[in-house]
């Protein structure tokens, strides 16, 4: 067990412990915004973990992954609007429908490679986005408010923010475990082998298309779950939840955290979303330091810093946060 105490495993343990204690902290300082922020982080981390299964381990860069967030969210929202409030119906259906869409999209997209694959997944996501925009009955462009969160026959009360947070966290850890088991199974090895050399994998007798498609469907299904959670979290669905920049965000999370590990995207989601919260204050602070005035407007321009930061991460920190952690042991 001592040998397992690398900076990497310590960081994972610390992050999980910290995530578990967030509600305690939030209640102690009476700051419920923190709880809401971390709920969002945990939900998007689920989506990023699912993307990483196909992108990091399968080499399939899907630029339309947010579509499944949208599908999952819309299933919950539409069912709630039509009076079906049971989570036992909503959530499995969200997962199932996402999986079905992933099956169709994957079967067509996986015929292409490289940039063509990136762009065809984006195209499918755009189609689904426009379908959502055209759903006049369910708010169209403006979206739809969900008045009651998913009901679980009185077993868990999702309206309670702390309970909802722990449900999301448990699902995140469950998904990480699932992906970890998948990646280390024979199935996962075939996927990774096909990433390095698809032709060779085919030559030694693996029908890699089927394996890759299965991975694509599993990733879509998990992402659909995160969409169902997100709809419950915001009590609202709109096409914006599957805007193509959201797909970009998910890629950023996976790469930022490190695609080489199952837990990396969780770190990436934490880092990106906390940066989004912190950068405005940091910029505000620098504005005060350098000009002596509190320039409230300067805080708005945080993306001016985030953009080049992403570029620098791409250029100089390959392997993301996880790569840095893994490097600590060697250095």
């Amino acid at each position: 067990m001592i040998a397992a105490l690398t900076p990497r495993t310590i960081a994972v343990a610390v992050v999980i412990a910290m995530l578990a204690l967030v509600p305690v902290y939030a209640h102690l300082v009476g700051n419920l915004f923190v709880l809401s922020l971390f709920t969002r982080i945990v939900i998007l981390a689920i989506a990023a973990v699912s993307l990483n299964l196909i992108m990091g381990f399968g080499g399939m860069v899907s630029f339309g992954h947010a579509a499944y967030i949208g599908i999952g969210g819309y299933v919950v929202g539409i069912l709630a609007h039509e009076g079906v409030r049971s989570g036992f119906v909503q959530w499995p259906l969200a997962i199932l429908l996402s999986a079905i869409f992933a099956l169709g999209i994957g079967a067509l997209s996986l015929r292409t490679r490289g940039v063509y694959f990136i762009m065809i997944t984006l195209a499918f996501a755009q189609m689904i986005y426009y379908v959502a925009v055209a759903l006049d009955r369910y708010g169209g462009d403006d979206g739809l408010t969900i008045y009651r969160r998913s009901q679980f026959a009185g077993l868990v009360d999702l309206a309670n923010k702390t309970v909802f947070y722990y449900v999301c966290l448990a699902l995140l850890l469950g998904c990480v475990y699932l992906v970890w088991r998948l990646v280390n199974s024979r199935f996962g090895l075939v996927i990774q082998g096909s990433r390095s050399n698809d032709r060779r994998m085919n030559a030694i007798g693996f029908p890699t298309f089927r394996y890759r498609l299965t991975a694509f469907v599993i990733a879509g299904a998990i992402c659909g779950l995160s969409g169902a959670l997100l709809a419950n979290h915001t009590d609202f669905i709109s096409p914006a939840m599957m805007h193509w920049t959201r797909s970009g965000d998910l890629i950023v999370m996976a790469v930022l955290g490190g695609m080489g590990s199952v837990f990396g995207p969780v770190l990436g989601a934490l880092a990106l979303l906390l940066l989004e919260e912190a950068l405005p204050s940091v910029i505000g602070l620098f504005a005060v330091l350098f000009t002596g005035k509190d320039m409230a407007t300067a805080r708005e321009y945080w993306q001016l810093i985030l953009g080049p930061m992403l570029l620098l991460i791409v250029l100089f920190a390959r392997g993301g946060i996880d790569g840095i952690l893994a490097g600590l042991r060697r250095g």
Binding site: L108, I118, M119, Q126, Y130, E300, L306, L310
Partner: protein
């Protein structure tokens, strides 16, 4: 019939606008093997530069020339500072790095020009309609976009097929290492190609800005369309992107104009009015999916790749 001609010309105009964007994108992709999501930012910058310079100089043409020069210089600067370091990297790195650049440019524009959009005012000689056929009037400005874009396409064709620089560009597209090994200054060629691509994007942006407005994020939606064009046309092929952009422009514009009526003839009016907007927005993505399923490398795959 009148509507049909007008919508056809609108589609042609939109397609040619897309071509200006797609040409730069496909050149950069074909030669440097770089996926540049920030191409839309250069389109946006072109529009903002034009709005500023036309207002400053009071002359539309002078403003346009200055805006083109400014976009060219910005593009070259971006290439030297950032893009150059991305060549040879994984496509995923390109997507991520240039995604960062989009965020940067959007905020930069907001910092410099403010959150409100800007208008490009047209001079009176452009802001009128002409009689193109007996009894058929069409916007002079849209007509001039068609003419300018066709001239640019012809110019590009001549430069690429008939000049030494064009020969290098073609050589670079089919075999980068060999071109470099033959003693061509690859760095300079890359900066030049990127700058030209930027200027073409800027031209598209400023021409569109006079019809709509220059606004933040204007480059992103049209960028996706430009990507659709180069994917349909086959990445790296200028000819392919020319055909595909006109195709996409026509399908998109005609679809939006006539799909509601066509659907009404087939379906109930209620079903048609809900389906038509979704279907017409999806039409080109559907087209792209079909093309990729039938020909996974586009209609005109560039040779030697």
């Amino acid at each position: 019939m009148l509507l049909l001609i007008e919508q056809f010309l609108n589609g042609l105009q939109f397609g040619l606008l897309l071509f200006l964007l797609a040409a730069g994108l496909t050149l950069v992709f074909g030669i440097m093997d770089l996926v540049n999501l920030a191409h839309g930012s250069l389109y946006m910058l072109g529009a903002y530069f034009a709005a500023t310079f036309t207002a400053l100089t009071g002359s539309f043409l002078l403003g346009v020339v200055l805006a083109l020069a400014a976009t060219l210089v910005t593009g070259m600067a971006v290439e030297v500072i950032a893009m150059r370091r991305l060549y040879g990297r994984d496509h995923l790195d390109h997507v991520l790095g240039t995604f960062g650049l989009i965020l940067f440019f959007n905020e930069l524009v907001r910092l410099i020009w403010g959150p409100a959009g800007m208008n490009v005012t047209l001079p009176p000689w452009l802001n009128r309609s002409v009689e193109i056929l007996p009894g058929v009037h069409y916007s002079m400005y849209r007509l001039s976009i068609i003419i300018v874009a066709l001239l640019v396409a012809l110019f590009l064709y001549l430069v690429i097929m008939r000049t030494r620089i064009g020969m290098l560009v073609r050589a670079g597209a089919s075999n980068r290492e060999m071109t470099g090994a033959l003693g061509i200054n690859i760095n300079l060629l890359y900066t030049f190609v990127f700058g030209i691509g930027a200027a073409l994007a800027g031209l598209a942006g400023l021409m569109q800005a006079a019809i709509l407005t220059a606004q933040i994020g204007m480059g992103e939606n049209i960028l996706i369309l430009a990507f659709v064009v180069i994917i349909i046309g086959g990445i790296g092929s200028i000819r392919g992107s020319f055909v595909a952009s006109i195709f996409v422009g026509l399908v998109d514009t005609m679809g939006r104009a006539f799909l509601p009526q066509i659907l009404k003839a087939v379906l109930s009016p209620a079903a048609a009015s809900t389906m038509a907007p979704a279907l017409s927005s999806m039409l080109i993505y559907l087209l792209m999916a079909v093309v990729l399923i039938v020909r996974p490398a586009g209609l005109f795959p560039a040779a030697g790749r």
